[in-house]
């Protein structure tokens, strides 16, 4: 039985960090993730962790110190949001290419401009192709649970991992949470034992080589393989976590999908709002369901195809826009997954929603399902590129 507490999402993540007690944290303040290094530096200054904290002068340097520290043989962690994630983008690619399993907590926030501090997914989605594993949380509990599983997954495939939650919505809202006892956390996460590192006794190592065309592509192919291999690890670690806590995790969560005729695919905290909408609609006899994407990288191709193969219509909800003139990033990924798996019967539309903290209400999701009902009945898809709850 775990420990019952009430914590914000940021505090829950900081507490997970404390329980894991990693070697080095390099971090820079930015709303809304700032609290994570704040809480953590209190643990450092009160001697509650052994971690060395580096208060760097930018996010670019935050990720650079993490790369140096992880390559040197320590677990390295950071936290950021929004423009901070953008500013470290160059280094995210290097971390992945160097195959360093760094753990980055992201409290997702809109990107400038216009400048805005509230939640959407434009920061995380902007770096979706950097080569990082990416997990998203619906609740504070999931943010905490995902963080405890992060290093196990990342270190098994030698790729860095982002643990994303929704800025303010979960990062600052206080919810009931069940914490795992610290001894159990330590046993679950284990010691970091890299095969090679800069400070390894008796051997030197060189990291970050120049790769000519004769080698560059092989390096990238190996990264691709690691990303593919991660799927199995996600399940393995999720099962072990379930054995410890009773809370199981996979690539997606299917909610009311067994007989669903209409479904939405969504990521993050709005899944909770959508579940409430589904409860109301189910009470009216509607066969509606939800697919929540927990793991965005690697993308749950098989799981999505399996979940959606029997629906008549679905909507993919993107909390960011790709500005490609036709859809958000998750719509593109879901559509590609279905096509690749030979699932072509369901009619799909995409919604851009919740940008810059635009409130997502139960009624908003009900509107989406009303549109899907029309599509189911008429077979007419209409416009596939839609904006939800927007003026003009």
């Amino acid at each position: 039985m775990g420990i019952r507490e009430r914590l914000s999402g940021n505090e829950a993540v900081a507490y997970a960090m404390k329980q894991i007690n990693p070697g080095v944290m390099g971090a820079f303040p930015i709303t809304p993730s700032t609290e994570i290094p704040q809480y953590f530096s209190t643990y450092v200054d009160n001697g509650e962790v052994d971690t060395e904290f580096i208060a760097v002068e930018s996010e670019h340097s935050a990720m650079s110190t993490c790369i140096g520290a992880q390559a040197a043989g320590c677990r390295a962690i950071s936290a950021t949001s929004s423009c901070g994630l953008c500013y470290m983008t160059e280094m995210l690619y290097v971390a992945a290419s160097d195959r360093l399993p760094i753990t980055l907590a992201v409290s997702c926030r809109a990107l400038s401009g216009p400048i805005n501090i509230n939640n959407d997914h434009s920061d995380a989605m902007g770096v979706r192709d950097a080569g990082w594993l990416m997990l998203f949380a619906e609740t504070n509990q999931e943010a905490y649970d995902n963080y405890l599983q992060a290093m196990r997954i990342a270190e098994a495939v030698s790729l860095p991992i982002m643990i994303c939650q929704d800025g303010f919505i979960t990062s600052h809202a206080i919810e009931n949470i069940e914490l795992v006892e610290t001894e159990k956390v330590k046993a679950f996460v284990g010691e970091y034992k890299p095969a090679h590192y800069l400070l390894k006794k008796g051997e030197s190592m060189a990291v970050g080589a120049y790769a000519t065309p004769a080698y560059y592509m092989e390096a990238k192919r190996q990264q691709a393989q690691a990303m593919m291999d991660a799927r199995e690890v996600v399940y393995k670690v999720g099962k072990e976590f379930e054995a410890m806590t009773g809370r199981g995790y996979g690539m997606i969560e299917s909610y009311q999908m067994d007989d669903a005729e209409e479904a939405i695919v969504i990521i993050g905290s709005s899944a909770g709002t959508a579940k409430e909408a589904i409860k109301r609609l189910r009470a009216q006899g509607r066969k509606v369901g939800l697919v929540k994407v927990r793991v965005f990288r690697p993308f749950p191709v098989l799981e999505i195809a399996e979940a959606l193969k029997n629906v008549k219509a679905f909507a993919v909800m993107d909390k960011t826009d790709s500005f490609n003139g036709h859809c958000g990033p998750m719509f593109a990924e879901v559509s590609a997954s279905l096509y690749a798996q030979g699932v072509t019967a369901p009619k799909g539309i995409g919604y851009i929603y919740g940008l810059g903290g635009r409130d997502v209400r139960v009624e908003s999701i009900e509107k989406v399902f009303a549109q899907l009902e029309q599509i189911s009945k008429t077979g007419e898809v209409g416009e596939t590129y839609r904006y939800l709850d927007v003026r003009g």
Binding site: I54, V56, S64, Q70, E90, M91, L199, V207, G208
Partner: protein, 311 residues
């Protein structure tokens, strides 16, 4: 402090092996080898390199010229990367997982130090990591083909400040980075280059490596392609830089300035400028004012330095 004779110095272990791809007559590998020779035998190092000529020429997969552990990360972040490595060392030492002694040395060119890596450098120095940042200053972006940096001297002809019909080379003066590093209140800052028996650079490298805390070493390391001098003239160019007071040798220990070399007869700057193709346009008839202006600038800086040294 290192008290080697030149012979003893060069007999010490080479930590950057031959076979790298740097040009003949380039100052950078000489600076690196000289600094690394000052590591005490038995001490290990982790070397960090900013993206540069040096990095792409010494570490092309699957080869490395570095005998110590080496990490290249990107252009702008060598100092931050080294901060991370040094901090991991502290963490591993604290947890009892490591008992060897390591030193942390970063090499960057002037582009990666004066310009794009400046913030990262300033942050690392302010935080006081136990590391040495070595700038091998060749006064332009040589890796990409001789573009001006904030270290490029006044009037120099580069590919982005060509000596044209209207604009006669770089219009701005060279940034005084050594002075800026002194302003960080780090325990050791020094400026040096290759001169005589390499005593000055060797002693400064040893002090920089073995002074606890952050240290900064600025080494003039000429580039024969960018400066346009015959490769065999490298040591003559650096000697002229010192004898004309264009690049004075000095160090600042805990804020106290010391001049390490006083030229017996301070030479006119023209003696330095005339050796290099990048200043050739300054010697055309009608351009005498450019040489006069540079002379005034050098004199002013020199007087300021003498005052700082209490001379």
């Amino acid at each position: 402090m290192s008290s080697d004779t030149l012979k003893e110095n060069v007999m010490r272990e080479e930590r950057l092996s031959g076979g790298h791809r740097m040009c003949a007559g380039c100052g950078s590998p000489i600076a690196i080898r000289t600094v690394l020779r000052q590591l005490e035998p038995g001490d290990h190092a982790v070397v960090t390199g900013a993206t540069s000529c040096m990095e792409v020429s010494t570490f092309m997969y699957p080869y490395t010229a570095w005998k110590d552990s080496f990490i290249h990360n990107a252009f702008a972040n060598a100092a931050a990367t080294c901060s991370g490595v040094e901090t991991a060392y502290k963490a591993l030492k604290k947890s009892g997982k490591l008992d060897d002694t390591y030193k942390f040395i970063t090499f960057g060119g002037d582009g990666g130090t004066y310009d794009i890596g400046f913030q990262s450098l300033s942050g690392a120095m302010e935080r006081g990591h136990d590391m040495v940042y070595v700038c091998y200053d060749n006064e332009a972006y040589m890796n990409t083909g001789i573009q001006r940096s904030s270290s490029t001297p006044h009037f120099a002809d580069t590919t982005t400040t060509p000596a044209g019909k209207v604009i006669p080379g770089k219009l701005q003066k060279k940034k005084d980075l050594t002075k800026i590093m002194v302003a960080h209140n780090v325990p050791y800052v020094a400026q040096t280059t290759f001169i005589g028996n390499f005593k000055d650079i060797s002693e400064k490298a040893h002090k920089a490596i073995y002074t606890p805390g952050a240290a900064f070493l600025n080494i003039m390391a000429p580039c024969p392609r960018g400066w346009r001098y015959p490769t065999e003239k490298l040591m003559e160019v650096t000697k002229a830089a010192v004898e004309t007071c264009v690049w004075p040798l000095y160090e600042v220990i805990e804020g106290k300035y010391t001049l390490n070399y006083m030229p017996k007869n301070k030479l006119p700057v023209a003696e330095y400028l005339k050796m290099q193709g990048r200043f050739a346009h300054m010697f055309k008839p009608g351009n005498e004012w450019m040489i006069e202006q540079v002379q005034q600038e050098v004199d002013k800086n020199w007087e300021y330095l003498l005052k700082s040294c209490g001379l």
